[in-house]
Symmetry: C2
Subunit: 90 residues, 2 copies
Amino acid sequence: MKGAFTLSNREKNRITVDIYGQQYVILGTESPSHIRHVAMLVDDKMRQISSRNPGLDVNKLAVLTAVNAVNDYLKMKEHLERLQIEQEKE
Amino acid sequence: MKGAFTLSNREKNRITVDIYGQQYVILGTESPSHIRHVAMLVDDKMRQISSRNPGLDVNKLAVLTAVNAVNDYLKMKEHLERLQIEQEKE
């Protein structure tokens, strides 16, 4: 993998991570340990989904991993919004 | 795309969505509108990242989209945890 990827617009750290057997260069303001943690979670998620969907090609596996991650994000966001509404009521 | 993907373990709804020009069958307990919303966000994210990284192949684009989504998820989770700690202090 030769390309460099952007995790955020204000670039700072340049970290090489391994996701599903492929190397990626991630650029971001986040700490190297945060970036490695994110990469590890993506790698785990891809392996989980792959084991539930044997024979899935890596491209579709990656898209489905993104779908799952966005779904987790939205659920967390809804939970946060409910908490904030409750706080306002108090 | 012929395969069926699992968004959650307790399957219920079977929704066909279009992400980055490819059709995916998503199985999940979430409502069809929620699943379509997730798919639309993934599609948007892939197009955003693609425009910032021209020439990126679709597989790496999908992995980077998953990296961004997991990063967003973790940030939201940390925010939620801080809120909960503040609530406990009150």
